[in-house]
Every structure is written in structure tokens, then in C-alpha cells.
């Protein structure tokens, strides 16, 4: 399990910035990739399958069809759930190499364990990205979502409900490409002035870099579990296939970049 206390890592961000993120990859055994992400009071569990066989109606001949299913914490499914699905799907469609796997489907299932509505959208996007990282699907870049709330003349990033006192009700959820720092998706709620919007987007871009660090640490933790390189092959000569032995031992060799 990886938790990141963002406050202690970045000194120049405001005090009331990013809460504790806790995430874990590979929590479910039967799916290709899975992840749990807890952000403040919001917790989301995501399972992903893919690329898998696709139904006839959803089949796309030149790319993989990305299907997102959102299960809210309670109640019957409604229009709001579809909005979350639409945002996650449009983000993933941009960053996943769908053209590599035509006529297949990538299925992402989001299950909300706990929610405090405000951070739900960004947690869903981040958790979906973590689950796709776990499943080793090819992606162009890693998108990171952050929610910003302007309070007075400050901007709070991923605030807890207690910290949001005094806000006018507006909020911005922005998804950034952490590599090129370009905006991938943006959704606002409530009323915001133009200055508030631009300052929120600016803070979100800075915070997205921290989310990127979280992704890297989660992946590093997952890879550290393997004590031996599985592609090194068998160590005994008798267990190697005959073609390997002719090449004089281990075929691929451990020529890693230095």
C-alpha cells in the first residue's frame, strides 16, 4: 500500500493542499488490472479487463472500444453516473493506445466504496489510470486529475469537507497530461469567475505533478515484489530449451541501460 503525504513533500504549495492519497495496485485476482485509491473521504475500487472480446454492437474495426461502468455507492443508476462514465471514458480514449488492439474492448469498472461527492470525479479518473497501469495496457501518457475549490482569494486543492467552509460552491476538476502539462479534460460545477477558473487550473497543473509521483511510487512498489527478473530464464542448462543452449547460455542477456 502506498500513501503519500503531499504536504511534507512539496514545501511551496499551500498548507491546505493535497490530502493523504492511499492507493494499492493489484487488489483483485481475477481481473487484468485493479486498484484502490483513497483520497480524503473518497474511496474508489477499479477493476479493468482488457483487451478482451467485444460484443458485436460495440465493435470498432480500427480501435479498441473503451467501456466504462460506474457503480455509485447507493441508489439506482442515474444520469449523474453516466456523466462520470463519460468523463472517464473520454479521458481514457485520449491516453490509451486503442489503435493497437482493434476489434477488442477494454472494460473499466468503477466501484465507489465511500464518497464525498466533490472529489469523486478526480478520484475515479486517477483510480482508473492506476488500474490500467496495473494491467499493463499501452498508454501514451498518464493523466492526473485534481479538484480545486476557490475559497476567498486562495485555491484549495483536493480539500476535505471541513476545509471547504466559506467557498461559494464552485469547483473545478481538471485532468492534466503530466508529461507535457497540457489540459486533457476539465469539468466545473457551480459558479466561478474567470480569474477563479484560471487560478484553479494553474494550481491543478502543479498538483498534477504530485499525483504523477504517486503513480510512480505505486508502480515501483509493485515491481519491487519480484526479486528476480522473470525474463532471465532458467538457470540450469538442462532446463533451457535446446535452441538457447546453442547460443551459449542465457539468450537475451541482462544488458540493461546504465
Amino acid at each position: 500500500m502506498i500513501s503519500a503525504d503531499m504536504k511534507s513533500e512539496e514545501g511551496d504549495l499551500d498548507e491546505d493542499t493535497i490530502n493523504n492519497f492511499t492507493c494499492e495496485l493489484g487488489v483483485l485476482s481475477q481481473c487484468d488490472g485493479s486498484a484502490t485509491l483513497c483520497n480524503g473521504l473518497t474511496a474508489v475500487l477499479v477493476a479493468t479487463f482488457g483487451p478482451v472480446e467485444v460484443r458485436q454492437q460495440r465493435e470498432l474495426v480500427d480501435r479498441s472500444s473503451i467501456e466504462v461502468t460506474f457503480r455509485g455507492p447507493h441508489g439506482v443508476e442515474g444520469v449523474e453516473d453516466r456523466r462520470v462514465e463519460q468523463l472517464v471514458r473520454s479521458t481514457l480514449e485520449q491516453c490509451v493506445f486503442a489503435a493497437l488492439h482493434p476489434r477488442t474492448a477494454v472494460s473499466v469498472v468503477l466501484n465507489v466504496l465511500e464518497t464525498d461527492d466533490l472529489l469523486l470525479l478526480s478520484t475515479c479518473v486517477n483510480a482508473a489510470v492506476l488500474a490500467l497501469l496495473d494491467s499493463s495496457l499501452s498508454m501514451k501518457y498518464l493523466p492526473a486529475a485534481v479538484t480545486c475549490v476557490p475559497v476567498g482569494d486562495r485555491v484549495l486543492v483536493n480539500p476535505l469537507p471541513s476545509e471547504r467552509q466559506g467557498s461559494s460552491g464552485g469547483s473545478v476538476t481538471a485532468v492534466y497530461d503530466t508529461g507535457s502539462e497540457r489540459l486533457v479534460a476539465c469539468r466545473t460545477a457551480g459558479q466561478l469567475s474567470a480569474e477563479q477558473l484560471t487560478s484553479c487550473l494553474r494550481e491543478a497543473r502543479r498538483a498534477a505533478a504530485l499525483v504523477r509521483q504517486l503513480y510512480r511510487r505505486a508502480v515501483a512498489a509493485k515491481f519491487s515484489k519480484e526479486p528476480r527478473d522473470p525474463w532471465a530464464g532458467p538457470s540450469r542448462a538442462e532446463d533451457m530449451p535446446p535452441s538457447w543452449r546453442r547460443l551459449g547460455g542465457q539468450q537475451t542477456g541482462e544488458q540493461s541501460t546504465s
Partner: protein, 294 residues
């Protein structure tokens, strides 16, 4: 019956293994800006830069750079032995799930008839398909061909392939199964193991006497009750395989056998605990390294 419940925070934490010079990248990381390298799997070209598209370690072999992830869906090669589960019965073919990107197909013309007779399949055979293989049945087969869209065409034309019964199937990542000449192993402990290249592994009791079970193409099924000692051997083998897979060790007959012998000091049900699994894998690895050093 004792139940083991643990908090996630108290789980066994492996110390960070030193990876040496290997470089861990995530999608979007630039692997190299030098344009002289060839692009391998797991990378794409963005202008002059080679950028990673999966999370994994960078492997450089001469001028080829690739990024290899921990696991991927099974990519079939012609001649692979696979174990699959029948998903659907269609006209003149079965759809089989082999943990690959698309379902594999087992054509009616690629199966053996009872008794091993060779003849053209008639309309009656088509209608009788369900009596041989239904949805949910497990089969062992070999990859005969690859269709243009990447799906596999299987065949069970030898008597050693066919429907499987009375055993346990274990699913592991497909890249952990070593490619060998023989994938059917009769272990000395009394179990038969079929290591499918697609990561599905089948464990059953070794059929005593010839012409029983494994050698009849699956038409003759031995549905007698498997005795308790053999069941214990099968359960222990299954847990050993999961222990090896959990530590990302390659699976082949020798490593499974060594793991089985290393696990004899534990009870079969204790082999499901993470620290016991790590220990069994560790002992197996040490024994394999020791033999390699000789």
C-alpha cells in the same frame, strides 16, 4: 476451522530489491532522446524521442529498446499447448477462452472422433457437438493456426489432447510458463501437470494403467472418486504453483517439483499464507541456483 484475517497495513512488506542499473519507466516517460535506436514493444516515437507506453523495465539489446511490463494477455504461437474453457458452442466450431485478447476457436474439423476414426464430419456430427463439449468444459489443445485478426485456431488432433476432468486448474501470468518441448509432465508425487503456454495450468491425478483418461482424447472420462491422498497432493501442488507465481518465478517441471518438496514441512492449507509462500519460493530459488552453480 481457523480463519486468517489480516489488515492491509500489516501485510508482509518485501524490502525493495536492488534493481541495479535497470530503469523503471511509466507511460509517458522518455526512454531515450537518441534517434539511433530501434523501437521495440512497449515504446512509441514522439518526434525524436522514444517514449514508454507501459510501466516496466527498459531492456536494451544492441540497438533495440523495449519496455517489458509484468504481465500481458497471452499471445499465441503456432505449436503452443494451451488449456482453455469452452465459452460458446457455435455452428461447426467452439469458442474457447484462453486468456488472450480474442477468444480462440476450436473448429469441428479439428477434433478427433471417438475411437480415433478419421472421417469427414457430417450434419449429425454438427448436431452432436454439444454432447462432446459444452459451455464450461475445460480442454487441452494445441494452436494450429493464427487468423488474420490475431485469434487462435486450436486443434485436439492427438489423443493426449481433449476434454479434461477430475482435476484443478490454476491461472498464472502467461509469461511465467517456460516454453519447453514437453508440457505434459507426470510428476513422481503422483500427479500429472499440464503447463499451458497461456498461463492456465491443469493438475490431476496420474491415470493408472494405459488407455485411461489422458490417452483417449477426452471421450472416455474417468469419473470415479479421486482418493484423499491424491487430492492432498493436487492441493499442495496447486498452492506451490501459486507460491512460485506470486514471487514471479518461472514455472517448469523442475521448479514445481522442488517447490513441492520444499513445502513438505508445511501443511497444505498453510501454503496460502503470504509469508509461507515467500519462503517456499525462496527455498526453491536457492535450490535451483545451487544446482546451476554446480
Amino acid at each position: 476451522m481457523e480463519v486468517d484475517i489480516r489488515l492491509a497495513a500489516e501485510r508482509l512488506r518485501q524490502e525493495e530489491a536492488t534493481r541495479g542499473a535497470a530503469q523503471l519507466v511509466t507511460p509517458g516517460d522518455t526512454v531515450t532522446g537518441d534517434g539511433g535506436f530501434m523501437r521495440g514493444h512497449g515504446t512509441y516515437k514522439d518526434g525524436e524521442n522514444l517514449v514508454a507506453s507501459v510501466a516496466g523495465f527498459v531492456r536494451r539489446i544492441n540497438r533495440l529498446i523495449s519496455v517489458q511490463p509484468l504481465k500481458a494477455r497471452y499471445n499465441g504461437e503456432i505449436g503452443d499447448v494451451v488449456i482453455g474453457r469452452v465459452i460458446e458452442v457455435q455452428q461447426k466450431r467452439w469458442k474457447v477462452d484462453t486468456c488472450s485478447r480474442l477468444h480462440s476457436l476450436l473448429m469441428l474439423s479439428s477434433v478427433n472422433l471417438p475411437g480415433g476414426e478419421q472421417r469427414r464430419k457430417t450434419q449429425e456430427d454438427e448436431l452432436a457437438m454439444r454432447s462432446y463439449l459444452e459451455e464450461g468444459d475445460l480442454i487441452s489443445a494445441e494452436v494450429q493456426n493464427i487468423f488474420s485478426d490475431g485469434s487462435l485456431s486450436l486443434h485436439t488432433r492427438s489423443l493426449k489432447y481433449g476434454k479434461l476432468s477430475q482435476g484443478v486448474m490454476v491461472a498464472v501470468p502467461s509469461n511465467l510458463v517456460l516454453r519447453r518441448k514437453n508440457h505434459f509432465h507426470d510428476l513422481p508425487c503422483g500427479a500429472t501437470v499440464i503447463l499451458g503456454n497461456n498461463g492456465y495450468i491443469w493438475i490431476c491425478a496420474t491415470a493408472v494403467g494405459e488407455d485411461g483418461g489422458a490417452g483417449t482424447g477426452g471421450y472416455v472420462q474417468n469419473l470415479e472418486r479421486v482418493p484423499l491422498p491424491e487430492r492432498e497432493v493436487i492441493s499442495r501442488l496447486r498452492n506451490c504453483i501459486l507460491a512460485l507465481a506470486g514471487s514471479w518465478m518461472m514455472l517448469y517441471d523442475t521448479s514445481i517439483l522442488y517447490a513441492f518438496e520444499a513445502s513438505s514441512k508445511f501443511q497444505a492449507r498453510d501454503l496460502l499464507k503470504p509469508e509461507v509462500m515467500a519462503e517456499v519460493a525462496d527455498l526453491t530459488r536457492k535450490r535451483l541456483d545451487l544446482e546451476a552453480a554446480e
